[in-house]
């Protein structure tokens, strides 16, 4: 069961070697993971939209989509058909080429990052030795295309959304990247496979003091990276119509949506890989564990969306620069200390340092509520 997909993969390669000439068999062997990802990505995205709508509906005490198919299971297909048949409107003054390219290109990094995710034991498309770096770099380019779309639309709301996206990305990319550094320090490798293998059984990094803090920071930054509530300022629908995709309709809009949801999946998968032990776990097959953790994180993201109002731009920036950044710096040092010291003592030291840091940062970040002014009148007293 554990190696189910690996065996399927090998069976197909064997068949190809028996039937096809050698050079084609090689191509087939190369194409299998690509095809698998190219199918898995969009299908995941389609059903994530359904899950999200269902979950939000229940949070708001509604049923959610339940008309198309049992439990609305065919709703994503109906949406797809609707998107495809919708009129494609391009604003007259838009930069036509960039307007067309942005939604197409934004899907590419979203699909590429699937390559370095270890879905299970031996289930990874390419085991890059710079896997995490590749992931961070690739997911970082998303903003570029968001800004392209915003600029090309020739619309002030789009542009505002794009600017916000860039500002947010610059702020959150730093703690996002730095919060992985403790893991890299401890594991000594960028490879996602090596990171997973460093957390055998239930020795996940999230159960160490620095891991818990790192997980917290990494997850929050991940939510901010993929522009989801409460960090969805780039598409703030109550302020900016629809933000950067105001001028998009039909399939182009669907592509933005697709990229967003695939990013949600991949980023959750990365968080699960780095801090929650990836596919490690007892009893169940490895890929089940991986999907379980990933979907738990996705559901938490949706839960956030059902709960929190959007942050103000200054709160967003302040949170990244004044709280998360300092905490990540301290966390790197703590991880190093933890690594150097012996077993029971290192946990205590690390936890103590982190708790003190968090308390201090809380104190510094307290919102200042001005005292109520008391007016003194000339005739009083």
């Amino acid at each position: 069961m554990d190696q189910l997909f690996v065996h399927i993969d090998q069976a197909i390669i064997h068949w190809a070697q028996a039937v096809l000439p050698d050079w084609m068999a090689v191509i087939v062997a190369m194409k299998i993971p690509i095809v698998a990802i190219a199918i898995f990505g969009p299908v995941t995205m389609m059903y994530l939209t359904l899950i999200e709508r269902k979950l939000l509906a229940r949070i708001q005490n509604r049923f959610g989509p339940n008309r198309v198919g049992k439990f609305g299971l065919l709703q994503p297909l109906a949406d797809g058909v609707k998107m495809l048949t919708k009129e494609d409107i391009v604003p007259e003054k838009a930069d036509k080429i960039a307007h067309l390219l942005a939604p197409i290109l934004i899907v590419i990094p979203a699909l590429l990052v699937f390559a370095v995710l270890p879905f299970g034991r031996n289930m990874i498309a390419v085991d890059l030795n710079i896997g995490v770096l590749f992931f961070l770099a690739m997911s970082g380019t998303t903003t570029l295309f968001i800004f392209t779309a915003a600029w090309a639309s020739h619309n002030k709301f789009s542009l505002l959304g794009g600017m916000r996206s860039v500002a947010q990305m610059i702020s959150y990319e730093i703690p996002f990247v730095l919060s992985v550094v403790p893991v890299l320090v401890v594991v000594g490798s960028f490879s996602t496979v090596a990171i997973v293998e460093a957390q055998p059984g239930l020795h996940w990094f999230v159960f160490t003091p620095w891991g818990a803090v790192g997980f917290f920071i990494f997850f929050i930054c991940a939510v901010a990276e993929v522009n989801r509530t409460p960090f969805d300022l780039p598409e703030a629908e109550s302020e900016l119509v629809a933000g950067f995709h105001t001028e998009y309709s039909g399939m182009k809009f669907a592509l933005f949506y697709m990229a967003e949801f695939m990013n949600v999946f991949t980023v959750s998968a990365l968080v699960a890989t780095v801090f929650l032990g990836g596919w490690q776990g007892p009893i169940l097959p490895s890929w089940v564990w991986f999907l379980l953790k990933t979907y738990t994180l996705i559901l938490i993201m949706m839960w956030f969306r059902g709960t929190f109002p959007r942050l103000r731009a200054d709160q967003l920036m302040g949170f990244a620069w004044k709280f998360l950044l300092e905490l990540t710096f301290v966390n790197i040092i703590v991880a190093a200390i933890w690594y150097e010291m012996r077993s029971p003592l290192n946990h205590l030291t690390a936890a103590a340092i982190l708790i003190v840091t968090i308390i201090v940062l809380f104190q510094f970040n307290k919102t200042e509520i001005p005292k109520k002014r008391i007016y003194k009148y000339a005739y009083a007293d």
């Binding site: 949070i59 005490n61 956030f304 709960t307 929190f308």
Partner: protein, 217 residues
């Protein structure tokens, strides 16, 4: 941003999420086409015409009052005529344009013959824009049992009133008949005293029509 409020909020949404699966008061939606709410008796939508025994004899006498009163003017009535061109007391066409009707119920209020009532029918969507939404008389006519079924309280009251009126009419007719009979008999027996009843009514009759013109001036 910081603090316990974040967790509190998440607890609230979580509670809503979980309870919506097993608590009736959390999930109040009725899944409409399959399940529906019990109809309220006083619910009123589009009007219908009532007939007593046969659809050929509707209660409506084509008096045109409802058509005149209807605020958006969506009723069209043409009075039926017999072979000699004499107007009959029933409509030949009675159309209500549903695309114009605003379901106000004025027609029901003003009809002096209790011939038009508001129905409970609300699934009135159609594919055509013009013909399908124009309700002709054959689509409007419904038996009085239908009225009794959807609005029993109103129906019993109105039926009782109608019956009372009819009884009164019948009684009056009987009385008149009896009176006429008696008169005829009296006339037979007392052939000499003919101008007995006529002078009694005559002084009253001109007094009534004389009043309105005086006010109008």
């Amino acid at each position: 941003m910081f603090g316990i409020g974040v967790l509190k909020g998440m607890a609230v949404t979580f509670k809503n999420f979980v309870e919506s699966y097993y608590k009736k008061e959390r999930l109040t939606t009725i899944e409409y086409p399959e399940k529906r709410l019990a109809e309220k008796e006083r619910f009123r939508n589009f009007p219908f015409l009532i007939f007593d025994e046969k659809p050929e004899d509707p209660r409506c006498v084509a008096c045109d009052i409802c058509a005149k009163e209807c605020p958006p003017q969506c009723i069209t009535i043409v009075r039926a005529q017999d072979a000699q061109g004499k107007p009959l007391k029933k409509p030949a066409t009675f159309d209500i344009d549903y695309s114009i009707c605003m379901n106000c119920g004025v027609c029901e209020e003003v009809c002096p013959f209790d011939a038009i009532f508001m129905d409970h029918e609300f699934e009135l969507a159609e594919y055509g824009r013009f013909e399908d939404l124009n309700y002709t008389i054959d689509r409007l006519l419904k038996p009085k049992e239908h009225f009794m079924k959807i609005r029993p309280t109103d129906a019993t009251r109105i039926e009782a009133e109608l019956k009372k009126k009819e009884n009164a009419k019948k009684a009056a007719a009987e009385k008149a008949a009896a009176a006429a009979k008696a008169k005829a008999e009296a006339a037979k027996t007392q052939a000499s005293q003919v101008p007995d009843t006529k002078p009694e009514t005559k002084p009253n009759e001109p007094a009534q029509p004389a009043d309105p013109p005086a006010e109008a001036k």
